[in-house]
Amino acid sequence: MRHTLSIIVADQPGELSRIVGLFSARGFNIETLSVGESLDPRWSRVTIVTRGDERTIQQIVKQCERLARVREVQDVTTRPHIEREMALITVSASAGAERQEVLSLVSVFRAKVVDISHTQMIVEASGNKEKVDTFIELLRPIGVTDITRTGHIAINRLSASVEQHEERMVS
């Protein structure tokens, strides 16, 4: 099962490498990884999406907690949370019909066109994994030539209503 782990670690040189090294040394898998500042800039938040059964996930959490500079490890999957990923997608679209189709998909998925040339468009999409996956799948027949994805970030949810509302809008 997929789990999203949120790891708060001191913002010091080499600390990310400790976490990543632990995953490879112990044979844990990393599906996506993203790192950035947390509320307190002395601490970074590392978000890792991984796969494994309950016991593997527990082991990952405990092994990460053993690191001296890790303050907190949370399996956000176990609690209500919001997950987002951003993707930049290059689509080859020169004809008017192709561009129209890209624009209508962009509108349905609440994405954005961020760059355009005579032959290509770059679109920006964000959402949970499924949404971004679906968006890319629908763009493929038109001609996707490049993709870059940020990996997931996640945060605990305060109230269920907003996201559900948004999910309805998308689907």
Binding site: P13, G14, R18, A25, Q59, K62, E65, A68, R69
Partner: protein, 587 residues
């Protein structure tokens, strides 16, 4: 605050001249003294010259032992730490100095040994340029340390050293590496008082939860076929006495691991002998048939469990360990108690005392059939070996060693057949009496570990039992032992083979003895004498006792070369990936 430190502070306060502000090297020395360090094992080099210069000035407070190879330094620090529980300290240079130390660091990590290893590094401005003797020490050691540091500012040293020692000895002990660039040890910086240093990342060990302790005790009291499976955590937490009281009060069978030997007296009637691949038949069968496995300070290593899926198939597991990551790593326990094993056992003991004589009596009586079963396993398959008239049997060497040392020697070993024979035939009665390379299985560990232990315990008889293979990996440390007059005895079980590998080739690879013959070797007696030690040799059974006695009684460093039967095997053996029922007890 220490007097020397007070002096420094006073100097700084009264004469705030730049030259009197301490250097990184000076701060390092003060911080080490503050941690109670009086012994360092090390080897100098370019990147640590400033530190060695300062160390020379501090030689009345810290004694440096000059080894002959950095691996030896770390194993000596491990021997020092394992025999006393104190933190062992190592100082080596950058590049090859650090890489040579890695084996020892990994060994300490696997066996939960508290050591602090200080490595020199090239100056900061050269880091990342492939400079002379540069290696990414924190990168290389990251997977085998509790924590490591690359110190970038001299002023950080007091806090780094304090935290390093805290981490090394707290929780599950282990190695910590402090990498100090040459310019950092030379730089002057404002000094922070060591007793004012705080380290925000420290963690405390939460005590074992009382409710869980009660549930554990109830499970033990009502179990019909329990086994206490005890490991290195007993020694690390100093739980041996409380373990003994608890086992005796409830009349519980105890099966120690290799690392647990001495945590419960091997000669005790409740002791089943060592558990695991080369453990006793009774210990392995008891675990296989047990209904409750009480795992105390252990990590369910594969050399103990064999095939996990069929390990202790009928047992429900109670696991007590200070390292939360050990719990559930290999075996999912029914009840987990994260915390200090001594505290947990003390709680079990006091709860047991509260529940009254009648309940204990009933519990003990309920296990009579279990003890009968255990006694019959012990009778049917005791540890044994075939004697011989014309060859010295390695097992008999260990028996004689036990007899001659009255079972009181501190014994260090390498890894392999000799190690297993020591574990089987030298009944250890005290914690910290056996210093062996358990987890990493490092050849060459025994000799330097014995030197470190001898230094820590000058009045004890310290014997390194090694194979002829392992001895040749670190025998250069004989020079260290001779130089510092550390009268260790090195007992070589010489069979001209890499014995354990040969045994596996015999048993599992159709006797294809691929690259295990090391019979071309120096004359170990002459080698000993070349180093300024004394050499002894026994080749025939009738000389064994006298030669051993002479060697052990020699006042200085002694090498006792015992030529043993070449193709002896260690039994019983549970083949890798198998279980107790697949145990091979004899040829």
């Amino acid at each position: 605050m220490l007097a020397a430190e007070q002096q420094i502070l006073k100097t700084i306060e009264t004469q705030p001249h730049r030259d009197l502000i301490p250097t990184g090297a000076e701060m390092l020395i003060e911080a080490l003294v503050f941690e109670g360090v009086d012994t360092i094992f090390g080897y100098p080099g370019g990147a640590v010259l400033h530190i060695y210069d300062e160390l020379w000035r501090a030689r009345d407070r810290i004694t440096h032992y000059l080894v002959r190879h950095e691996q030896g330094a770390v194993h000596m620090a491990e021997g020092y730490a394992r025999s006393t529980g104190r933190v062992g300290v190592v100082l080596v240079t950058s590049g090859p100095g650090a890489t040579n130390a890695v084996t020892g660091i990994a060994n300490a990590y696997m066996d939960s040994t508290p050591i602090v290893v200080i490595t020199g590094q090239v100056p900061k401005h050269l880091i990342g340029t492939d400079a002379f003797q540069e290696v990414d020490t924190v990168g290389i050691t990251r997977p085998c340390v509790k924590h490591n540091y690359l110190v970038r500012e001299a002023g950080d040293l007091p806090a780094v050293v304090r935290e390093a020692f805290h981490l090394a000895r707290s929780g599950r002990p282990g190695p910590v590496v402090i990498d100090i660039p040459k310019d950092v040890s030379a730089a002057r910086a404002n000094y922070s008082r060591l007793d004012h240093v705080s380290f925000p990342f420290s963690s405390s060990n939460a005590p074992v939860e009382r409710g869980a302790a009660t549930r554990a005790l109830n499970a033990i009291l009502s179990s019909k076929r329990p086994v206490l499976y005890v490991g290195g955590g007993i020694a690390n937490s100093g739980a041996d006495e409380v373990l003994r009281s608890f086992a005796e009060n409830l009349h519980l069978p105890v099966a120690p691991t290799l690392m647990g030997l001495g945590g419960f007296p091997s000669s005790h009637p409740l002791c089943l002998g060592m558990l695991g691949m080369h453990g006793t038949y009774a210990a392995n069968m008891a675990v296989a048939e047990s209904d409750l496995l009480v795992a105390l300070g252990v990590r369910f290593d594969d050399r103990v469990t064999g095939k996990l899926a069929t390990f202790a198939p009928q047992a429900s597991v109670i696991h007590v360990d200070i390292d939360p990551a050990n719990i559930g790593k290999n075996v999912a326990p029914a009840l987990a108690l994260t915390g200090d094993v001594k505290q947990a056992l003390a709680q079990f003991l006091s709860l047991a005392e509260d529940c009254g004589h009648e309940r204990l009596r009933q519990s003990i009586d309920g296990r009579e059939a279990w003890w009968n079963q255990i006694r019959s396993w012990q009778r049917s398959q005791p540890l044994r070996f075939d004697g011989s008239q014309n060859q010295i049997k390695p097992q008999s060497v260990i028996r004689e060693l036990h007899r001659l040392t009255k079972g009181e020697a501190i014994v260090a070993t390498d890894v392999g057949q000799h190690q297993m024979w020591v574990a089987q035939f030298y009944p250890f009665t005290k914690t910290r009496q056996l210093i062996t390379s358990g987890g990493l299985g490092t050849m060459g560990f025994g000799l330097p570990a014995a030197v470190g232990a001898q230094l820590a315990l000058p009045d004890q008889l310290v014997v390194a039992v090694v194979g002829d293979g392992g001895f040749q990996m670190t025998n250069q440390e004989l020079a260290t032992a001779v130089q510092y007059e550390l009268p260790v005895k090195i007992l070589i079980m010489n069979n001209g083979y890499l014995g354990m590998v040969r045994q596996w080739q015999e048993m599992f690879y159709d006797r294809t003895y691929s690259e295990v013959d090391i019979s071309v070797a120096p004359d170990f007696v002459k080698l000993a004498e070349a180093y300024g030690a004394r050499g002894f040799r026994a080749e025939r059974p009738e000389e064994l006792y006298d030669v051993l006695e002479a060697g052990l009684n020699h006042k200085g460093v002694a090498v006792i070369d015992v030529v043993v039967s070449k193709e002896e095997n260690v039994f019983p053996i549970v083949p890798a990936g198998a279980n107790a029922r697949d145990m091979i007890v004899q040829d």
